[in-house]
C-alpha cells in the first residue's frame, strides 16, 4: 500500500494527464456516435446567449443582402401560388388543374404534414470537418431533434441538439452523413461534402451514361427527413471516375453558408410514425 501511494505521488502529473486525455477521448467518441451531448454543445444557455449578443451587433450589416434574398423568395413563392390558384374552374365540367411542379412518384409525402417555423442564426461555422449552426429557437418554441432545416434558397441541415431556447444544427457541410438526392429526371444519388470548401458539394453514384449538363438542379428526396423537392445545389462540373466508371458531379450549393441569417425549421408531423414503421419493419426481418 505504501509503495502504491509513493507511486501515485511520484507520477501524479502523468496520471492526471492520462486521466484527462481519456476523458477527452470518451467525450469525442460519444459525439461521434451522433448521440450528441447537450451540455457540451453551443445549444447550452451560456454559449447561446454569448452568440445571441454577437449576432445582435452583426445583424445590421447584413440587412440589405437579406432583404434581397427575401424578395427573391417572395417572387418564387408567388409564382408557385399562381400556378395552383389560377385555375379556370368554369372552363370545363371537370376541374382542370395544371400544376407544373416536379413529377413526384413517391406517395408517402402526399400525406406528410409540414409545419414551418422561422429562426435566426446566432452562430455559424464553415471551417471545421463537421460544421454546426446555432439558432435562437429551442424546445420552448417547439423545436425537436431530427427536424429538417432549410434556408430561403436551399437545404441547410438537421437539428441535433435542443435546449430551452436554442438549438444546434448539423449543417450539410459535414463528413458524418450523406444526404439522399435526385436529379431532375429522377436519378437518385447521395450528396456528401467536399471538405474544406464551403460551397462545393459532391453528388456520387450517378451512372456514366446519364447526360448531365452544367446548371442542372439537384433536389432532396422523400427518402430523407427533408421534404422532397428542396434545392440542394446546381451542377458545376462533372467528372468520370476511371476506376469504377461512375460519374461524380460537383455541385454549387444552393445555400450560401457563409452569410446565413434566417432559416426555416420544418416539422414533419408524420415523421415519427414513419420512422417507427421503418424501424419495426427492419426488426421484423
Amino acid at each position: 500500500m505504501r509503495n502504491f501511494i509513493l507511486f501515485v505521488r511520484r507520477f501524479f502529473n502523468l496520471i492526471l494527464f492520462l486521466t484527462l486525455e481519456i476523458i477527452c477521448f470518451v467525450l469525442i467518441a460519444r459525439t461521434n456516435t451522433l448521440q450528441g451531448n447537450a451540455l457540451l454543445s453551443s445549444a447550452n444557455t451560456i454559449a447561446g446567449i454569448v452568440y445571441q449578443k454577437r449576432e445582435d451587433v452583426v445583424y445590421y450589416f447584413g440587412l440589405k443582402r437579406m432583404n434581397d434574398s427575401l424578395i427573391n423568395e417572395n417572387i418564387r413563392l408567388r409564382i408557385a401560388l399562381a400556378q395552383t390558384q389560377g385555375v379556370d374552374t368554369l372552363k370545363d365540367s371537370s376541374v382542370q388543374r395544371k400544376i407544373t411542379l416536379d413529377n413526384d412518384t413517391t406517395h408517402i409525402v402526399r400525406f406528410a404534414n409540414y409545419v414551418y417555423r422561422n429562426a435566426r442564426v446566432v452562430n455559424n461555422s464553415v471551417t471545421s470537418e463537421n460544421n454546426y449552426i446555432t439558432i435562437n429557437r429551442g424546445s420552448n418554441q417547439g423545436i425537436k431533434r431530427h427536424m429538417a432545416v432549410i434556408s430561403s434558397t436551399g437545404v441547410v441541415g438537421e437539428v441535433i441538439n435542443v435546449s430551452n431556447n436554442f438549438a444546434s444544427i448539423l449543417s450539410v457541410l459535414n463528413v458524418k452523413r450523406k444526404l439522399s438526392a435526385r436529379l431532375k429526371d429522377g436519378t437518385m444519388g447521395s450528396v456528401m461534402w467536399d471538405d474544406g470548401k464551403p460551397d462545393v458539394l459532391i453528388l456520387e453514384d450517378i451512372p456514366k451514361e446519364l447526360k448531365v449538363y452544367r446548371g442542372d438542379s439537384v433536389f432532396t428526396t422523400s427518402y430523407s427527413f427533408f421534404p422532397p423537392g428542396i434545392l440542394i445545389g446546381t451542377v458545376d462540373r462533372m467528372r468520370i471516375n476511371k476506376k469504377n466508371n461512375i460519374q461524380v458531379l460537383y455541385l454549387k450549393s444552393a445555400t450560401n453558408f457563409r452569410n446565413l441569417q434566417y432559416v426555416y425549421v420544418i416539422e414533419n408531423t408524420l415523421l415519427d410514425e414513419r420512422r417507427e414503421l421503418q424501424d419495426s419493419t427492419k426488426k421484423a426481418k
Binding site: 484527462l20 486525455e21 476523458i23 453551443s42 451560456i46 470548401k197
Partner: protein
C-alpha cells in the same frame, strides 16, 4: 493586481476574442481554384502559454482542460480542443526548462514573455507548442489518414496564421515601454 485575477481576466479576454472575432474570420491563403481548405486562427492556447513559470503541472493540466472544454462548448467539437490543450499543458514545463538558461524556480512571479525570455526563445516556445496543438487538433478532427497532404497543409498553414495572430495579440496587449528596455 493579484496573479489569479490577472490570469482569469486574460482567460476571459482571450476566449472572447477567439469566440467573437476570430471564429467569424474564415481565411484562405489563395483563392478557390487551388482548392485550399479554409480555416480559422486559434489564439486560445496562448492562455496556457502565458501562465506564470511557477504554476505546478497539475494546475496547468486542469487549466488546459477547462480552456479546452470552454472552446469545445462554443465550437461544438466535444473534447477535441480539450485533448489538444491538455497535451500542450503537459509539455509546457519541459519545453520551458529546455529553452531557459536557469531553473524555472529562479523566475519568481514572472510569466513567460518576450521581456524575460527574448524574442527568439519565446517564439520558438510558442511555435513548437502551437504546432503540436494544431497537429493533434486537426488529426483528431479529421481522423483519416488517407489524405495526408491535405492534413499537413492544413496544420502548417494554420500554425503559421495562428502565430501571426498571437504576435499581434502580444504586441497589442503587453506594455510597450517594458519591451523597449
Amino acid at each position: 493586481m493579484s496573479d489569479y485575477l490577472k490570469n482569469f481576466l486574460r482567460f476571459c479576454i482571450i476566449i472572447l476574442i477567439q469566440v467573437l472575432v476570430l471564429n467569424k474570420i474564415t481565411l484562405r491563403w489563395w483563392s478557390q481554384p487551388a482548392g485550399f481548405p479554409v480555416f480559422i486562427p486559434y489564439i486560445y492556447p496562448l492562455f496556457i502559454l502565458l501562465l506564470p513559470f511557477e504554476t505546478p503541472v497539475w494546475l496547468l493540466l486542469l487549466c488546459g482542460f477547462a480552456t479546452g472544454l470552454t472552446m469545445d462548448t462554443f465550437m461544438n467539437t466535444a473534447g477535441i480542443h480539450a485533448c489538444a490543450t491538455v497535451l500542450i499543458a503537459y509539455l509546457r514545463t519541459n519545453v520551458l526548462s529546455a529553452l531557459l538558461p536557469k531553473h524555472l524556480s529562479e523566475y519568481p512571479n514572472q510569466s513567460p514573455g518576450v521581456k524575460n525570455m527574448g524574442w527568439v526563445p519565446f517564439l520558438t516556445y510558442c511555435a513548437f507548442l502551437i504546432l503540436i496543438h494544431h497537429s493533434i487538433f486537426f488529426t483528431v478532427e479529421l481522423w483519416n489518414f488517407s489524405n495526408i497532404g491535405y492534413l499537413l497543409l492544413k496544420i502548417i498553414a494554420s500554425t503559421a496564421t495562428s502565430l501571426l495572430f498571437i504576435l499581434a495579440y502580444l504586441l497589442l496587449f503587453t506594455k510597450q515601454t517594458a519591451l523597449k528596455s
